[in-house]
Symmetry: C2
Subunit: 343 residues, 2 copies
């Protein structure tokens, strides 16, 4: 007999159409709807005149954004930004994360077509999978989208870190794998007593310098060129290693943590953050799926739990290890290098 | 100043990563994880041996499905299907909707890459946009995926319709744009007194006949070959027109409703269903986004509200029009052709 009174497949349908939700958001960011609406509420005609959106799908598109709670629509039919869209999706605001969404759209949406192949082969499906960032960054447009994506994707986590870590106890810091320098900039902006910089491959110096200059921090932030496979890490009171360990195999992680321990001043700290898997491996899909993204993108990377990270850090001699969720999709694990005991 | 205490962009991140959720589900269906688990709970090793999934991403992938609530995992680490997955994602069950997910994955995920272009041009972005289903169906694999997608996508709605419409009052029915014949089969299975069939383009006869034969209904269900632009619709007490009107411009919709009125017996009914937009155009993103799918897929199609549909039906002389949500993503609008008044 047919099971005619069964509940409808609501969860399955909700998950299945998730890519529609994502693409509607991505298109709105690409068409800069939120930046245009930052000027104030607009009716359909005004908004259409201000964007390249064709009349045919305009109303359904904008009402989709209302139904997705990215826009609001008043009783006169005028559209405006939701408070979250206004804060995060208006170009030019310091909180803008459109770069992340452009990155997800231009890079990840395409990469994820190959999820099944990655699952079956265990092999990366993108050019980054070779492990060479130099090759990867060779294409200028890829580099720009990737770097802006990294910056926007780190921004909320880095802001939380800048606000919550006891930076007043330290004088110097360096961000390892800094890309444009999003982390040093946010930390330096919030803590004027700190000096430091960012470590990354030499050809990223220009990008870093430009980003730091835009934030008027060139006096306090330095670029440390290097390759963490062959070079030591810069010395500082605090090192930050965000979205780095998840790209690499366990052996590389251990090597990087040991190098970090060497570079940190006695009494200093290491802050590692990544989208970490919950300890039960069942309550938060984001980090588990992010681990599949590492499967698609890298030769041996994956996400991991905070407990695994704490274990690796303690093997590298870090002590008083603490776990701090960063309010977005990231978690930080913080370990301290004890001062040398008094003789 | 930076707005450092602002709420994190949680809604934006949730929407942005929706394509990860969708693709994880699609990959699990493609790899037939749920069918394999229908045999009973399996630990990681057993499940890996039963599927082509490589060891590297296996645990993260399966735990992702747990976190998405598609699988369960017991205290011994054994995976099993959730009740919804067991009902809808196990191949061979009459409730299986894997065909819809394969269709969304193979066709829509790719099509939606072109959303921005569709929004800017107002033009369809797929081969179906020419309006010729004959050309479209010419590719055998495309046809199979599309037809199975249509069937699986209609199944939950059609089951609700089969259960809730007062079929006992009628003797004959025909489904317009029937494809494989999913609607006539479900209705005939639940109501043994009914006879009827499905109307579609002539080359679909073989598909229809095979599908009906698999359900042992060849005695009661007939294929009506025809083109609804040039031919009349088959006569019956009840006509069903599901996921048809949304493909076409208003003028075609009016023509089809008039043809339906001509074909229906006095006292009979027309059932139209589509993913209809809520009247306020703000509470349900699905139908609004489905309208964008029509923008991508068709030259002049779109979704519409139940009130708009009721208005079109009343212009075609239907009366006592009722609106019935079908519990999945579809809504039905039902209109009646009044019996001729007694002289």
């Amino acid at each position: 007999m047919l099971e005619t009174n069964a509940a409808p497949p609501q969860l399955i349908l909700k998950l299945a159409y998730g890519f529609w939700h994502a693409k509607a958001l991505f298109a709105a960011v690409e068409l800069d709807v939120f930046t245009i609406l930052a000027a104030g509420p607009m009716d359909l005609e005004t908004l259409m005149a201000a964007t390249p959106i064709h009349q045919r799908g305009a109303r359904d598109f904008l009402d989709s954004l209302v139904a997705l709670r990215l826009l609001e629509r008043d009783e006169k039919g005028r559209y405006s930004n939701s408070s979250e869209s206004d804060l995060y999706l208006v170009r030019g605001r310091p909180t803008y994360i459109g770069g992340l969404l452009r990155h997800l759209d231009a890079r990840h949406y395409k990469n994820w077509k190959s999820l099944t192949r990655a699952l079956v082969t265990g092999e990366p499906q993108t050019s980054l999978g070779s492990g060479s960032y130099t090759d990867f960054y060779a294409d200028q447009l890829t580099q720009q989208l990737f770097l802006q994506g990294m910056t926007a994707g780190s921004l909320p986590a880095v802001r939380t870190l800048a606000r919550t870590f006891p930076w007043h106890r330290y004088k110097t810091f360096a961000d390892i794998g800094t890309a444009q320098g999003c982390a040093p900039v946010e930390i330096a902006l919030m803590h004027p007593h700190l000096r430091g910089g960012g470590f990354d491959l030499p050809f990223l110096e220009k990008e870093f310098a430009a980003y730091v200059r835009r934030h008027s921090l060139s006096e306090r932030l330095t670029f440390y060129p290097g390759d963490f496979f062959s070079d030591p890490l810069p010395s500082a009171d605090v090192l930050v290693m965000g979205r780095v360990l998840h790209n690499w195999a366990d052996s590389v992680r251990a090597m990087l943590l040991e190098k970090a321990y060497q570079a940190i001043s006695p009494g200093g700290a290491l802050i590692v953050y990544d989208p970490m898997i919950d300890e039960e491996r069942r309550s938060e899909p984001h980090a588990l799926l992010s681990s599949l993204n590492m499967l698609i993108e890298t030769a041996a990377g994956s996400e991991y739990t905070a407990a695994e990270c704490a274990d690796w850090m303690s093997r590298a001699e870090f002590r008083e290890i603490k776990i701090e969720p960063l309010q977005d999709v990231h978690t930080a694990v913080i370990g301290f290098k004890l001062p040398a005991p008094a003789l």
